[in-house]
Symmetry: C2
Subunit: 214 residues, 2 copies
Amino acid sequence: MIRILLADDHALVRRGVRLILEQEPDLCVVAEAADGAEAVAALRAHQVDLAILDIAMPVMTGLQAAREIARHREPPRVLMLSMHDNEQYFFQALKAGASGYVLKSVADEDLLDAVRATMRGDAFVYPGAMGSLARDYLDRLRRGERVPDTVLTSREDQVLKLVAEGRTSKEIAEDLTISLRTVERHRENILAKLGMRDRTQLTRYAIRAGLIEP
Amino acid sequence: MIRILLADDHALVRRGVRLILEQEPDLCVVAEAADGAEAVAALRAHQVDLAILDIAMPVMTGLQAAREIARHREPPRVLMLSMHDNEQYFFQALKAGASGYVLKSVADEDLLDAVRATMRGDAFVYPGAMGSLARDYLDRLRRGERVPDTVLTSREDQVLKLVAEGRTSKEIAEDLTISLRTVERHRENILAKLGMRDRTQLTRYAIRAGLIEP
DNA sequence: CGACGAATGGGGAGCGCCACCCATTTCGAG
DNA sequence: CTCGAAATGGGTGGCGCTCCCCATTCGTCG
């Protein structure tokens, strides 16, 4: 019997996925959560074998929750649920310690396959239409190549979130109690790392990355 | 027997909502669609009493599909499914001829209630946590007051889309072969109408409105 | 017809954003 | 211990964005 924690901010989606999962006799959803913080809390209250986390959730995103969960003594497996076939997400899920990455656009059989593959201990699972960048990445991993780490630092993530929310550099500097120049420095580094040129692209990226809600 | 068309770009969500609906003996999902264009096409092929449309879909959004459907001779009822409790969406759904507006964050019973209320011919339905602005709006409608039309013009929509994609005013002016000053004029009007102050907020709005993908 | 909104265009002021240059401190990995 | 990466801070210049002012030409609706 596989005990599952299901986290998604939309009750309707949660209910639907639960019905899909519980059509299988050996799968049982023992807890639900509407955001990342609830998910982490639920893990303390319930014995869970597998956590299925939506990426885009308020309060704490699925990615943040996965990082938190990975620090436990006996962490459950983690399957990330995502809206879009986005490579940045995929990389971050990988780094956050997830065992799989499933798109909401896949069929229900693919979700069930991913659940079983993950519980068997298979390597990183990504069923359905796999993006070419993601496939390249997994191929290179299997060949033992190391890949450049393009992910932002935690401070840059923090600044990016505020930028994408529409705050000005001055406001961000006051929030973080650092100099205006340092905020602008972080912004420059973020733009350069992501190959972008202005705030609007950062906003869309932050939404894709689950840092903010649309 | 109520025959339902279900349109959502995520197969997993579609499957889940279908399971919720078909727990009721008198509800039957006779067709599914992954975008607005498919939904409109499916209506020609099937006899449908109720169309449940997700707002955010590729190719053609649920709002565009609803406007299209409203032009039919005997249009089915339309229930909009939305991710967020956003007033702009709500207004647009109303104008597009929808009979109801249901948040994905509501419980499954609320969805079923909305389906039945809509089929009974009840006025605009909005179960669950209703935003204060939306409630005001419906109250004023019931009292017969007329409300100001805050929706953007088609030209403004066009400019907004390009702004949200990160194009500069100069680039937009070249695209639309109009003056730089006219583009800036449109931008000012858009910001004023929506009560926003910069491009990042416009980007998030455009994503919520389904004008662009994240 | 007259009024109003939509679309078009212009000038100017102020500030935020982004790109380029420079630096120091701290901390962890090799 | 040394080297690099992360975080901190400074200066300068150009251009984009936003907010004021102004205008004309169309439609449409009462």
